[in-house]
Symmetry: C2
Subunit: 197 residues, 2 copies
């Protein structure tokens, strides 16, 4: 048993995704052995994040400024809005550096099982943005799951009278993927959407 003061730290760390009680104990010992190099900077970085990071009122991204750095960047194309489920998806798209428009974070997907309805997602904010004069296209980048695609259809309906083009991500063979390991749905989608070489 760890001393009680450390127990609390272990319990808190064990609540992080990917860590359990055992790995949280290892992490705490790792931190205590690297006090100046890791423990103190991590405590400070967490405190800073708790104080300074907020949700962007325009797109829902998390950043230290509001509106966020993406929304205020003048080099980004204001005519494109990419709709994502979560901030994690926004960060994933940003890492590719393939999209130079702006984002809109829904905060989840419609889900009958989890009791998430349209009122739980930030769709009104999206409709309002889509009515803006400079927006010409909304890209629906929700997951290729049943819930994600249901949500995409619902949003496409909501946007039908906003005068914007609505598109979705292409389905197909993942880059670097082997055909043999692909599921039937992806393979038939890739075949249907075949392109001239």
């Amino acid at each position: 048993m760890a001393p009680t003061d450390l127990d609390r730290l272990i319990q808190l760390l064990a609540k992080l995704p990917g860590l359990g009680p055992r790995s949280a104990r290892r992490a705490v010992l790792h931190l205590l052995k690297r006090r100046e190099a890791l423990l103190v900077p991590l405590a400070d970085a967490l405190k800073d994040a708790a104080e300074s990071v907020k949700g962007c009122t325009v797109c829902g991204n998390l950043d230290t400024s509001d509106p966020c750095a993406v929304c205020i960047d003048p080099r980004r194309d204001p005519s494109l809005i990419c709709v994502v489920e979560d901030v994690a998806d926004l960060w994933a798209l940003e890492r590719t550096a393939a999209f130079r428009g702006r984002y809109h974070v829904l905060g989840g997907t419609l889900s009958a099982l989890d009791g998430i309805g349209p009122e739980d997602l930030n769709v009104p904010g999206l409709v309002e943005r889509a009515r803006g004069p400079e927006v010409t296209e909304v890209i629906l980048a929700t997951s290729a799951t049943v819930d994600g695609q249901t949500t995409a259809h619902y949003i496409a309906d909501c946007l039908s009278d906003c005068g914007v083009a609505v598109s979705g991500l292409a389905h197909g063979v993942p880059v670097g993927g082997e055909l043999d390991y692909l599921d039937d749905g992806t393979l038939s989608a890739a075949l249907k959407a075949r392109r001239p070489v």
Copy 2:
């Protein structure tokens, strides 16, 4: 790409054992969504730990007091010292509540590969404690690896003129273990050390 201020937090979290860049990003989003319930308490707990946790000068345990809670507990048997490699091992033994003596943390094992020699381990402190009038037995609870057993032999040599009994953990079949999955070394050790039922 996450905003730069968050990037630093992600990089620090990714240095914890069991977390990589991807799981650190997930953890940061998890924390930011639970600001009051998790992020602020975790930052405070880390700060507290950085300020208050220190190594016990007697046994090498990590605790908020020095000597640690185990060393100053009057209900614990001062005649027994259990030698462990690391604080993690001490905590593991404490969780079993099967040992009511005191501990001595070596801080590692002898290892030719990693360049760890006798001078890197806290053996002089152990020898000094073993010469104390109340100590009657030293239990060597180092790992059952080559390095761990080498270290145990080295320590047994160092303790040979201290007038204490030196013992080691029993080898055998793990409780709940199936014979079929055990390695040959453990099986033959368990057979050699067989006991009347």
